[in-house]
């Protein structure tokens, strides 16, 4: 907790003094290959959670044949415990637009979309005003590109990229089979880049900072910095841009309340790390990745309540199309309740753990595949709390 041990703060995303118009006009003059090379060299990986290299995504889409392509900003920030995209869109929306414009230039898109989480509709008016200004800037730079904002209706699943396309196309938000991937067949079946809000800002800023500068931060597998949403039993809840690759212990030392028993890294779809593993856990793609959510729990919290809450969430937010996710979530939820009540024996937890592994192996999309993350990490580490 000593203040001199404070984690390094980074100020790339929110810094206002960046010379936005200059970056934009410079970036739009850069070679597409150069931009892609810079992104690849920077090691930037998607900040939504899955961590796909951004440069590759842009490169693949640019290589696809076809007259029409799209760039989409995924602002359906629905992961429990994440609220950093909201802040980015509120504070530096023009950087998000800038990232989209650069991406559009690289892949050859004329239209871009921001899929805004339904609950963030309060941002819409301001966002649209900023967007109108931005379009004027684009016109002044003689760059033919337009961004449209569409809003979701509150379904968590629509943050999954292919469900998001379905939703945008006016259909029920259900994930598609993959392949084909969005770079080949995304929105309206056209080659599409879909990036998280934060990723687009980093991509934009890398055009200014250069990849080498970006790479100075982070580790080999997790280059650069990341915006974290810190919540739970912490005296300093909020949004922090930190270097990637930190040991979780350092994070707890700074953000915990001195009595931290577990940190849920990556939201309900992420992993629960218990106290005994803080030292050995690295926050990053080589360790435990996160889309930004860091939920801190102290010893007053019941981990049964935590997993019960997550399962209730998944049981409701599963789109319901695939069996392992739809029924699996119901079984896990009712299963832990039955064990708690004593209707099922303790051994039934092992059956449920096996079931969660089946869900991980067989679910159609990331939602069902990741339920096991929190389920097994909580049940394994806090088994006694599931029973007593």
């Amino acid at each position: 907790m000593a203040e001199n041990k404070q984690l390094k703060r980074v100020d790339i995303i929110f810094s206002e003094e960046c010379g936005f118009k200059e970056i934009l006009s410079d970036a739009l003059k850069m070679d597409n290959e150069k931009i892609v090379d810079e992104l690849l060299n920077s090691g930037l990986r998607g900040r939504g959670g899955a961590g796909f290299p951004t440069g590759m995504k842009w490169k693949f889409t640019a290589q696809e044949k076809g007259d029409e392509r799209f760039i989409i900003c995924n602002a359906d920030e629905g992961e429990p415990g994440t609220f950093k995209d909201r802040e980015i869109l509120f504070k530096v929306p023009y950087k998000v637009f800038g990232g989209m414009a650069v991406g559009a230039k690289v892949i050859g898109a004329k239209e871009g979309y921001i899929y805004l989480r339904g609950e963030y509709k309060f941002l819409l008016n301001d966002l649209q005003k900023h967007l109108d200004e931005f379009h004027k800037t684009l016109d002044a730079l003689d760059f033919d590109f337009r961004i449209h904002i569409v809003t979701g209706a509150g379904a968590y699943i629509c943050g999954e990229e292919s469900a998001l396309f379905e939703s945008m196309e006016g259909k029920r938000g259900e994930p598609r089979n993959k392949p084909p991937y969005p770079t080949v067949s995304g929105y309206k079946g056209k080659p599409t880049v879909i990036n998280n809000v934060e990723t687009l800002v980093y991509a934009f800023m890398i055009c200014r900072l250069g990849s080498e500068k970006f790479k100075e931060l982070g580790t080999d597998d997790s280059r650069g910095s990341k915006v974290f949403s810190v919540s739970g039993d912490t005296p300093i809840a909020g949004i922090y841009e930190l270097e990637l690759g930190m040991p979780l212990q350092d994070f707890v030392d700074e953000f915990g309340d001195g009595d931290t028993k577990a940190v849920q890294v990556g939201g309900a779809a992420g992993f629960c790390v218990p106290r005994k593993k803080f030292k050995d856990t690295v926050i990053g793609f080589e360790g435990v990745p996160t889309g930004g959510s860091m939920m801190v729990f102290n010893s007053s919290r019941s981990m049964f309540n935590v997993i019960h809450n997550y399962l209730e969430f998944f049981e409701e937010e599963s789109c319901g199309q695939c069996t392992p996710c739809r029924v699996g979530c119901q079984q896990l939820l009712l299963g832990v309740e039955a064990v708690k009540r004593g209707d099922k024996s303790i051994d039934y937890l092992d059956e449920l753990l096996k079931l969660s592994q089946t869900m991980k192996l067989t679910s159609k999309c990331g939602l069902g595949q990741s339920v096991a993350n929190s389920f097994s990490s909580i049940v394994d580490n806090f088994r006694e709390e599931m029973i007593y």
């Binding site: 089979n177 319901g320 199309q321 739809r326 119901q330 059956e351 089946t358």
Partner: protein
């Protein structure tokens, strides 16, 4: 060609195919539930998961395209355990009261559960948690949500194959269910009653409304004279339910069985199919004359067939401006019904109130059609009970008949004789072909200029077919048709029908005569036919239909002696006052939503 290896077996298959396709080629069986060859890929039940070397997790064989060098394992410990889990999960949501289920012994989930020996390690029973409902409001289709496994085959059938979208997915998570449009009851929703959803349902969630007991009751009632009619497609489908391979013609055995069941008279819808050709053919020629000679602009062309009640209801909902284009002819089932209680009653000296008229149909929409208020021209309900091919098979089993061993018998007389032209009503293009065989000959005095009367351009499984028949040297009465090219189109399956009708509506197509059947392949692929139905099975039934046609001594409707007789004795002539009264009908505009 793409080369891959499945369970140690090398397979080559075209690009774009899936692991499932490749495994079938290699004769390796991967179980499926949501997959159906008539429908687009869903990949949502996940029972077809397999291990692909190098892939994260397991992959759905039905949805994963093949690629060069792929190595697949279909039977690993992990695959087997996961698959068993998935089946158990499905069962936990499913009302598995199998002995009370209509689909007992013909249920894909049941047989899979049996193979995987699910049982003791079952998960919690979720059925009591759910507020499952049974929708019995429709005269044709019963929807029992407690049997549903949410594979969405019905939704894809209704939307993609039939362009109706009466069925849709509602809610999410544990509450996700297959619902109807705006959660309306099946009776009120825009549904054509085609029953294609029933044919593709892997379980008993969608079944036809059963009328077996009513029919038994009528048979046992000594005061009733029960007549039965059988549609053309039934005789090439029924065998599948009773031990024969697909494409077996069981006409004679079916007649024997119906007689053994106790029907007082076993008659044939094909008789009224021939009659339909007389009425509809004359109607077409009359319309052509009024349009071409009299230049009557009120005459609507193209004329469209009206045999398929699914198509009729579809056009009432979707193309209400084209109802005057529909032939006013009732379907053969309904022509038969009204004649059974008038002509037949008269000839047999029976009081029509004592006649119970039953029809055996490959169709579930026929149940709705028989209930239409327009269908009471005899003064009674023209057709009292409609049974599907499947229901007839059940009656035959209930009666303990050894169907495969039965002898071949002939239909009873009066309304039991028919021609090959009537038989082919059961296949897409068949009504068109039968009409052309007759109309061409009436107009020119010569047989249609096709070898063996087989008008090949109107046959086959293409979604929309076109044919042009040029009329040359007609007889005096039809001189005005000399040189006219009669332009015909045929569509089967309502998505194809919609496509065709849209082009007519947009003025992009200019036909004289259109045949539309609601079901893929025509009636032989009807919603009341044996389950499963697949393209291969439809092809086999089609082959059987055309064989049956070739085997008939008479193959043109106008040469059916019983048809000649009914015009002499009762109706007068085609489109006479009497035939208008009994054999023709009106349609009603219905709402789009």
């Amino acid at each position: 060609m793409i080369n891959l290896n499945i369970d140690g077996i090398d397979v080559s298959i075209e690009e774009g195919k899936t692991i499932l396709d490749a495994s079938r080629k290699a004769k390796i069986k991967i179980p499926t539930l949501c997959h159906h060859e008539d429908l687009c890929v869903a990949g949502n039940c996940r029972v077809c998961i397999v291990q692909q070397e190098g892939a994260k997790g397991l992959v759905a064989a039905c949805a994963m395209p093949v690629h060069e060098g792929m190595k697949i394992h279909t039977n690993t410990m992990e695959v087997r355990r996961s698959r068993k889990h998935i089946i158990e999960l499905l069962l936990s949501e499913h009302n598995a009261d199998c002995t009370k289920c209509y689909r007992n012994n013909n249920c894909e989930l049941q047989s899979m559960a049996n193979q995987y020996r699910t049982g003791n390690e079952m998960f919690l029973d979720l059925v009591p948690e759910k507020n499952y409902t049974i929708d019995q409001s429709s005269p044709s289709i019963m929807k029992d949500d407690s049997k549903c496994i949410r594979c969405q085959r019905c939704v894809r059938t209704c939307e993609n194959l039939q362009a109706v979208s009466a069925l849709a997915v509602a809610n999410k998570g544990g509450k996700m269910k297959i619902s109807s449009f705006f959660e309306k009851p099946m009776h009120d929703v825009v549904c054509t009653n085609c029953g294609q959803c029933i044919n593709r349902c892997p379980t008993g969630a969608l079944i036809e409304v059963n009328n077996i007991d009513e029919v038994w009751e009528a048979i046992y009632d000594k005061s009733k004279h029960v007549v039965v009619q059988t549609a053309p497609a039934v005789r090439v489908g029924l065998g599948e339910e009773l031990g024969f391979h697909a494409g077996s013609r069981v006409t004679g055995k079916m007649v024997s069985a119906l007689k053994r069941l106790g029907f007082d008279s076993v008659l044939d819808t094909q008789f009224t199919a021939d009659l339909t050709i007389m009425e509809e053919g004359t109607e077409l020629l009359t319309r052509l004359k009024k349009a071409l000679v009299d230049e009557d602009t009120s005459i609507r062309l193209p004329m469209m067939t009206s045999c398929s009640p699914g198509w009729i209801k579809f056009s009432e909902h979707i193309f209400p401006d084209f109802l005057e284009n529909l032939s006013t002819c009732k379907s053969p089932q309904q022509m038969f019904g009204s004649l059974a209680k008038t002509y037949y009653a008269q000839q047999r000296n029976l009081d029509p109130k004592d006649i119970v008229s039953v029809s055996i149909m490959p169709c579930t929409a026929k149940k709705f059609e028989a209930d239409r208020p327009e269908m009471r021209d005899s003064g009674y309900k023209d057709v009292d009970h409609v049974l599907t091919t499947r229901e007839l098979a059940i009656m035959i089993k209930q009666a303990g008949l050894e169907f495969m061993e039965m002898d071949d018998q002939k239909f009873d007389s009066l309304m039991g004789d028919s021609t090959g032209a009537a038989t082919i009503f059961g296949a897409t293009g068949g009504v068109m072909e039968a009409a052309l065989r007759t109309a061409y000959e009436l107009v020119t005095g010569r047989e249609v200029p096709f070898e063996n009367l087989n008008i090949m351009p109107v046959r086959g499984m293409e979604g929309v077919k076109e044919a042009v028949v040029k009329i040359e040297n007609p007889v005096e009465a039809w001189k005005f048709l000399d040189g006219v090219e009669l332009r015909c189109a045929i569509a089967h399956g309502l998505t194809n029908a919609k496509k065709l009708m849209q082009s007519v509506k947009d003025g992009k197509a200019n036909y004289h005569f259109i045949e539309i059947m609601a079901c893929p392949g025509g009636c032989l692929g009807g919603g009341g036919q044996p389950i499963p139905t697949s393209q291969k099975i439809r092809d086999q039934r089609t082959k059987a239909i055309y064989e049956e046609d070739m085997a008939m001594p008479i193959r043109k409707s106008h040469e059916n002696p019983d048809v000649t007789k009914i015009y002499q004795d009762f109706l007068g002539e085609p489109l006479s006052h009497k035939s208008h009264e009994l054999l023709h009908t009106k349609y009603v505009k219905r709402e789009r939503y």
